[in-house]
Symmetry: C2
Subunit: 221 residues, 2 copies
């Protein structure tokens, strides 16, 4: 049996199954504890592989999470585009609300969005960064036509600014809104720290709506 | 001499001098290589102290960098408030430009702003987080009156949204704009990756100007 398993794992199909098992374990652990708390050893233990064997499938911990971020873009972009396309009254407020709702419905994606430029893109090969950036480019290619169909005043550059603002803010506000339990208790206990309390979806929606309202005014002035 | 030095270091004055030397070394190394590349051992070596001795002054590497972030707020907030106060024609564009210019003039502060919610606030005591948040609250107390005097339509909440958007975007865009040298070369070499190239100051200024224009329109409608 061990011999047969080993041979199977050398086929492209078996290799993919192993990769999927590793990604599943990383996804589950990341959702449970937050990305920064998950080590390569944790993932190897969860998937029942030796760490050295796992390195045949992924070079680093960061490569695993960068793959999950790419998966997040492929999941988020069509959902957002569909919601924007289905808006009965597309305007700055409803488009902004669609961005905020689809992002905050994906907390692990928000966590990954913040980790990407700081950590994930810095500990993988250049080839993996290229693959990842092609995926985010594909995501833009899905989102921008939907946004520009809904709000025809906007240019391509406006759409790029909107997606950059939405993903950057979603990542950072998510991190600010999910401190450790002790710090969360501190924020609630000290009224001088009220400014540290963040409610991601309404704040993200407000900021993006104002940005869109202003940008539309600039284009139609 | 060693005895005398040791005794001096026990006075509050000597303790402060040691702390300043540690912060100076961390500031210099952080500016040179980026915050994520600086370890506690690097700082100890640069300041010529044993790591164990340094832990008498700062609990963790993150506490050192959180102190530098607080220092960054105390430096940035009055500079921004002064520039906003001195604007000949305060409007959405000029106030946004003042935010973008003062933030991008401080690259290490931008680096620290991105590191803060992800890393720095998660490996220090609750008391240090409280101190830090009181400093950011003081910063808001300097910035908001200047912004509201320049743009009287804005509410306190609008000012909080503006500072949240500005600091979150400055941190993330800075990280995106400063990849490692190999990845930077990749972005320039592959035209399909043009969307990965970011020029922080104009993009930040454009996004904040649209946001301010939209928010002012909402308040004066």
């Amino acid at each position: 049996m061990p011999t047969r398993e080993f041979q199977r794992a050398r086929s492209p199909e078996a290799k993919r199954l192993r990769e999927d098992a590793i990604l599943d374990a990383a996804r589950r652990l990341g959702a449970e504890r937050g990305i920064r708390q998950v080590t390569l050893t944790d993932i190897a233990e969860a998937v029942g592989m030796h760490k050295s064997a796992m390195l045949r499938y992924f070079e680093t911990r960061e490569e695993i999470f960068l793959r999950l971020t790419a998966e997040g873009w492929r999941d988020w972009a069509p959902d957002l585009a569909e919601r924007v396309g289905a808006l009965a009254r597309p305007d700055a407020d409803t488009v902004a609300a669609a961005f905020a709702a689809t992002l905050t419905a994906r907390p692990m994606f928000c966590d990954l969005l913040a980790q990407t430029p700081l950590n994930l893109e810095r500990n993988v090969s250049v080839e993996k960064v290229r693959e990842f950036k092609l995926t985010t480019g594909d995501g833009l290619g899905v989102i921008l036509p939907a946004v520009r169909a809904a709000l025809p005043a906007l240019t391509e550059q406006d759409g790029v600014d909107l997606v950059a603002a939405a993903t950057s803010l979603a990542g950072t506000l998510y991190q600010i809104a999910t401190p450790g339990p002790e710090v969360a208790a501190l924020y609630r206990s000290d009224p001088r720290l009220a400014h540290a309390l963040v409610d991601v979806e309404p704040q993200l929606s407000r900021i993006l709506a104002s940005m869109l309202r202003g940008r539309i005014a600039e284009r139609t002035a």
